[in-house]
Each structure stands twice: as structure tokens, then as C-alpha cells.
């Protein structure tokens, strides 16, 4: 059976095409104010990769913060459930999933068969992980890759209080005007965010194995800071951007008629 999993996120729309449980195509596009169009784009890209016609898709599942915008899906579920399902499929031993997106970070405790045991999402004054790194790299006049690389070269820890991203930003500005080495600032930003993410994750009572997913985990510097913050050795789930889309595609396939 061919199913499509759509993850309509705040920043990106992601689509995974499954053929009998095997990923045959993936597509992504930036989420615009016309979510249906964004999904269409990502879906077409995925179908193209899979060399499958739209008509061949038997079932569709949709998740992500924008899921309500997509009508006529066979399965609709929240990210939490899709995260757990996708992660479980990729690695049966994963007990905790940490999803670091552009605006939100989330931790999901995974139980038997990929069922959710509990979950936590960041609260007020602690949002915007990926977006914050982007803003900071812009302030530092570095590309995201350069920013991540620089942070790995840092030689000292500088504590910044990242509870409010905007105030953290002005701490960064102070560091800049104090002529703190660039590498150390980059690391401070990652450490600050990682503190917030791991604090939140600890609320679900983190158990190993920990799987990381979401767009922001492609940032090696951030992952290193998360690793240190957890005091555990998390793995990065394959194709970390597409785990939710995979999860919802699987749920669509699982669904009984």
C-alpha cells in the first residue's frame, strides 16, 4: 500500500511517501501563508522522487501545527503521537525523543509499540530554538554552518541566560561588544538553548536511548551542547526533519478500514 505522510510545520512542510512501509520519496518546502500550496509543493517533490502519481496514493496522514488546514486526510494526529511513531519505526530502542524545531522544542517519552507515555513542550519565555540560532548567526554575520562549526572550536564556557530569547540576544550583543571570541559566543548560544531544551526534556523523566529529531539537530554545535546538557549520548534519528511525516505516514498505513 502507498501512503503519504504530511507534516505541516510552522517553518517547513514535509512529506514522506511510503510504499509498504518503505520510504520511497521525501519532499520539503517552506511553509507560507497558503499552507495548502506549501503542502502541494512538498508532496509533488516527494511524488516525483518516488516516481509515483498522486492518484496512486491510497491513504494520507497529516500532522504538524498546521494540520487543520489540510482537509480530507485519512488520519490526523498531533506531532507528539507522530514523533513517537516515527522514532519507534526508525529505532525500536529509542525511549525518549527530543524534537527541536524552529519555534518549539518537544520531548516525548515512547512506550511499547511507539505509543506515547508522556510529553513536554517548552512553556512561555523558552521558545524558539532554531529561530534563535538563526537570528544569532545573523547578528554574528555567520552562516548557520559557520556558526555551528565555530561553536565546536570554542575553548571556554560563557554562561548566558537564555530564558527569554530576546534578552539572550542582548546578552549576546554585550558579549560581542566586549569582544568575546566568536567561537565562544557561538557556543554560549548553543549552550543556552541546550539548557532550555534539556531542562524541558528532563520533565518527561528522560530514559535512554534518546533520539534527536527536528530541523535544528542538523546543527552539530547545538547537538554537542544538548549532549553535554543531557549527560547522555543521544543519537540523531535518520532524516531528522522527516520523522513526524514518517510517523504519520505509518499511522495512515496502520489504520484499519
Amino acid at each position: 500500500m502507498i501512503t503519504a505522510g504530511i507534516d505541516l510545520g510552522a517553518t517547513y512542510s514535509k512529506v514522506v511517501i511510503l510504499d509498504d512501509g518503505k520510504v520511497v520519496g521525501k519532499g520539503i518546502s517552506k511553509t507560507t501563508l497558503e499552507p495548502e500550496e506549501s503542502v502541494e509543493k512538498a508532496l509533488n517533490a516527494a511524488l516525483q522522487e518516488a516516481k509515483i502519481d498522486k492518484g496512486q496514493v491510497e491513504r494520507t496522514g497529516v500532522t504538524g501545527s498546521g494540520r487543520r488546514a489540510i482537509k480530507d486526510a485519512d488520519v490526523v494526529a498531533t506531532d507528539v503521537t507522530a514523533d513517537a511513531r516515527g522514532a519507534y519505526h526508525l529505532d525500536k530502542e529509542v525511549k525518549t525523543v527530543i524534537d527541536v524545531g524552529g519555534e518549539d522544542a518537544r520531548a516525548v517519552k515512547v512506550g511499547e509499540n511507539g505509543k506515547v507515555i508522556n510529553s513536554a513542550v517548552n512553556d512561555k519565555c523558552a521558545a524558539g530554538a532554531g529561530a534563535f540560532v538563526e537570528a544569532m548567526s545573523r547578528a554574528m554575520q555567520l552562516s548557520l554552518e559557520e556558526f555551528a562549526e565555530a561553536s565546536l572550536k570554542s575553548t571556554q564556557e560563557i554562561p548566558i541566560n537564555a530564558q527569554c530569547a530576546i534578552f539572550a540576544e542582548s546578552e549576546v550583543v554585550s558579549l560581542i561588544s566586549d569582544e568575546t571570541p566568536r567561537e565562544d559566543i557561538c557556543r554560549a548560544v548553543h549552550d543556552g538553548i541546550a539548557d532550555r531544551i534539556t531542562s524541558m526534556a528532563k520533565r518527561v523523566l528522560v530514559e535512554e536511548k534518546v533520539g534527536l529529531m527536528g530541523g535544528a539537530v542538523m546543527n552539530k554545535g547545538l547537538v554537542e551542547s544538548i549532549r553535554e546538557g543531557l549527560g547522555l549520548d543521544p543519537i540523531i534519528l535518520p532524516d531528522p526533519l522527516f520523522v513526524s511525516a514518517l510517523g504519520i505516514a505509518l499511522m495512515a498505513a496502520d489504520q484499519e478500514d
Partner: protein, 451 residues
């Protein structure tokens, strides 16, 4: 449409509750013209204390909540209250009840109509950091005198507090009750009537004991009451528990609720899962209970809802809490002012769980929550991380961790009981949706925003 599992019926006591509540607020507005003593203070203020006078009392917390309701019907008007206090320099993360209340004074606007009532004096039991200082700030603004009674609560029973400590605490409060009475007589120039005071004290015990019994009735499956309804019912005890009409109301309510239990009349006809919540709800956004209903979820109560108006007595043998036995039930005769003071102090210290929970969290508060989970047969918990009330959020995170360790599905959301700017309905609803999936529940019918 899914089929209903249980029959349901509107609650008959509802209208009466509303009537008494509005009456009380009307009496406050008219108090001065009727020659009554008018005082202000908080809900946990041993509010039987002023019953020795012909009096009316504006109780601060429900009043602050009443202002926050405006956020739903008239957001611009609401903002004028809260901003008045912020513009005067009161920081935004202080108790939202207090900020609304101060805004009301600064605007000289009574939310039920007319100018803010001319309060003779303020009386407050200092049981949380904010309450003690709240009326000091109000006294700064209004110039009206303020008496604060230091309320040092008992610790949770599990801590094995000694009888000697308890005696000391009782005596400390009794001494201050006498001090307060002398002070009030001086402020008002009126004589304190011991007879009406004794009746007020007995009423305070009875109202709160009756409310605990109503909560206990909610252990039944299906639950006869949901929390949203309970919030409208317990408030009478909050603002008027020493009153005769309030005692009478709770007697009738208990009868009706027990009748519903006997006839399996449900609050939610689809009841499939039962939860408890924690802390005050965001008063202006009770729709979240409505959303839960669409999943067949009934909230059977909260430590706050049960405890603020409830008198709960610890049952050493079964390690649980039951409705407190009133002096009347125990056959204790109360004849003098001093006896009444002792009964009031003892009742409060022994049976008041919210006040205790604001001072002591730890193992005791966790035990109380677990007791609710067991006795009310709860399947999940939703914890409101209340940025507006740090007293009720005491121990919350430890409670959440304990519930999770126990394997009970538990969700948190951040908000504020009386400041809508700190509550994000969309995000909260999204979380509830995930949580419902986690609990394995399906939405049974479409959610519609409430009136």
C-alpha cells in the same frame, strides 16, 4: 453523534448559587448606606471574624476573578483594570487577582457597577506571601487601616508534627483573633457581638464541611458534577461561608448531588475518562473544560477546588482525608468568644488544606494529590502552571514528576488564573489534543466555543 452513556440533568441549585452570589456583591455596594461595617480582605481570612458586627465583606480573590471574566466579554475594559495597576508600578508577575483588585481601586470602579466601595478597614490572614502584602499595598493607596493576622498552618499529617507545635500554632492564632477583635472594635467604634460571632464560626465550619461532602459525592461514577460547575458552586463558601443562607444552600446542594449519585445522573453523559486539574483555572477561559468534555473527559475536581472552601480532616487509620466533623456533629458546645476563637483556629489549622499547601508542599501535598487520584478514580491529570498564583503552584512540578512516575498521564500548560495575556488558548488546546491522543481518547463530537 455518539450515543450517550448516562442520563444528565441541569443542576437545580445553579440559579440559587448565582442569586446568593449577586446578593452578596449587592450588599457590599449598599453596605455603607445601610449602616454596615464594610471590610475587605482575602478568602482565607477566617472570614467568620467580622461576624461580630453587622457587616459586609468584599473578598479579594473572587473579586479579582470577576474582573478577569471581562477579558472574555469586554477585553478593552478588562485591560483598563490591569493596566491601571501596572501603570502605578505594580509589577506584572505579581498575583493577578491583586493587580485586578488594585486596578479597580485606582479606577474607582466596582466591577458590579458604581464606584469602588468605601472600605472601612482591611483584614487579612497572612497565609501566603502575597496576601499579607496585598492589603498593605491597598492600605498605601487608600489610606484605610489594615490588620494582618499571621496564619502559620499545620504541616501535612505525614510529617508527624508534634501536639505541642500544634498547640503553639493554635494559641498563636487565638491570641491574634482576640487582638483582631479589639482592633476592629477600635476601628469601627462598635461593639463586637459574641453571639453572632459564635454563629458565624459554627457556620464557617459547617459550610466547609458540607462542601467537602459534596466533593466526596463526586467520587461516584459517573461523576454528578464536573469541575467547571463546581467552580461556580464553591465560590459561595469562599465569599460567604459564615452566612446562614450559604449554609442552607450547601445543605440543599448536598441533597441534590447525593440524589444525582443515587440516580446515576452524570455531569458528562459521555464520561469515559476522569481527570483532576491543579491550581485555579484561567477564569476567563473555562472553555478548556468544554473541550475536554468532547472527548468524554470529566474533571472531577482539583486540590484547589476541593480545598479552598472545603474542611478536610485526616483519617489517620486509612491515611486519607474525609469531610471534617463539625463542632455540632461532635456535640461540642460553643458559648464564649474565646471558645469560638479556639474552634475557629483549630478548624482552620486542621481542615484547611489549601492554606497548608501554600506553605508546605513536599511529600504531604503529593500524598494529598495521590489520595485524590485513588479515591476519585482518576485516569489523568492536567496541571495548570499558574504564573499568576505562586501559592497554588507551590510543589506543582514535584507533583507532576510524582504522577508521571506513578504512570498517570499528566499534562501541563502554562497560564494565569486572572490575566489572559499569559494564557495562550491555541497552544493549550493543541496540547490537550496531544494529551487526549496519549490517553487514547477520541473526540466524540465537535467542540463549540461556549457562551
Amino acid at each position: 453523534m455518539v450515543e450517550k452513556k448516562y442520563k444528565t440533568a441541569p443542576l437545580k441549585s445553579w440559579d440559587k448559587a448565582k442569586e446568593i452570589r449577586l446578593n452578596i456583591y449587592k450588599e457590599i455596594a449598599e453596605a455603607k448606606s445601610k449602616g454596615k461595617v464594610l471590610l475587605g480582605g482575602g478568602a482565607e481570612s477566617l472570614i467568620a471574624l467580622p461576624t461580630g458586627f453587622d457587616y459586609a465583606m468584599l473578598v479579594g480573590e473572587p473579586y479579582g476573578a470577576a474582573i478577569s471574566y471581562l477579558a472574555k466579554s469586554d477585553p478593552d475594559e478588562y485591560m483598563k483594570y490591569v493596566e491601571a495597576s501596572e501603570h502605578a508600578g505594580y509589577p506584572r508577575d505579581l498575583c493577578a487577582y491583586m493587580r485586578n483588585y488594585i486596578g479597580s481601586i485606582l479606577r474607582d470602579k466596582y466591577v458590579f457597577g458604581g464606584p469602588f466601595p468605601k472600605i472601612d478597614f482591611y483584614l487579612q490572614a497572612g497565609f501566603c506571601d502575597t496576601h499579607s502584602k496585598w492589603y498593605q499595598a491597598v492600605s498605601d493607596i487608600t489610606g484605610r487601616p489594615y490588620f494582618s493576622l499571621d496564619l502559620v498552618p499545620f504541616d501535612w499529617e505525614i510529617e508527624g508534627e508534634s501536639e505541642k507545635t500544634k498547640d503553639l500554632k493554635r494559641k498563636y492564632i487565638v491570641d491574634q483573633i482576640h487582638e483582631a477583635i479589639a482592633w476592629m472594635e477600635k476601628q469601627t467604634g462598635r461593639e463586637f457581638n459574641d453571639e453572632t460571632f459564635i454563629q458565624g464560626v459554627l457556620n464557617e465550619c459547617e459550610s466547609t464541611s458540607l462542601w467537602a461532602k459534596v466533593c466526596i459525592a463526586n467520587r461516584a461514577i459517573p461523576a454528578p458534577l464536573d469541575e467547571k460547575t463546581m467552580l461556580s458552586l464553591y465560590v459561595l463558601a469562599v465569599i460567604g461561608r459564615p452566612r446562614n443562607d450559604v449554609v442552607e444552600f450547601y445543605r440543599e446542594l448536598l441533597d441534590e448531588v447525593e440524589d444525582r449519585v443515587a440516580n446515576q445522573i452524570a455531569a458528562n453523559p459521555y464520561e469515559t475518562a476522569r481527570i483532576i486539574t491543579d491550581s485555579q483555572p484561567p477564569w476567563f477561559a473555562l472553555d478548556l473544560f468544554r473541550l475536554l468534555e468532547t472527548y468524554g473527559v470529566v474533571s472531577v475536581g482539583a486540590h484547589y477546588t476541593f480545598g479552598l472552601s472545603g474542611g478536610w480532616e485526616y483519617d489517620e487509620e486509612n491515611k486519607t482525608w474525609e469531610a471534617g466533623k463539625t463542632p455540632q456533629e461532635k456535640g461540642v458546645e460553643v458559648k464564649t468568644r474565646d471558645e469560638a476563637a479556639n474552634v475557629l483556629a483549630d478548624w482552620w489549622l486542621r481542615t484547611g488544606t489549601v492554606c497548608r499547601g501554600v506553605r508546605h508542599s513536599g511529600a504531604g501535598k503529593i500524598q494529598r494529590i495521590m489520595d485524590m487520584v485513588d479515591r476519585w478514580k482518576v485516569d489523568g491529570a492536567i496541571v495548570h502552571l499558574n504564573r499568576g498564583c505562586e501559592g497554588t503552584s507551590l510543589g506543582q512540578m514535584d507533583i507532576v514528576s510524582s504522577l508521571l512516575e506513578r504512570g498517570l498521564p499528566t499534562m501541563t500548560y502554562e497560564g494565569n488564573h486572572a490575566d489572559p495575556r499569559e494564557y495562550d488558548e491555541n497552544r493549550t488546546f493543541a496540547r490537550i489534543e496531544s494529551f487526549m491522543e496519549t490517553m487514547g481518547l477520541k473526540q466524540l463530537y465537535e467542540f463549540k466555543k461556549g457562551e
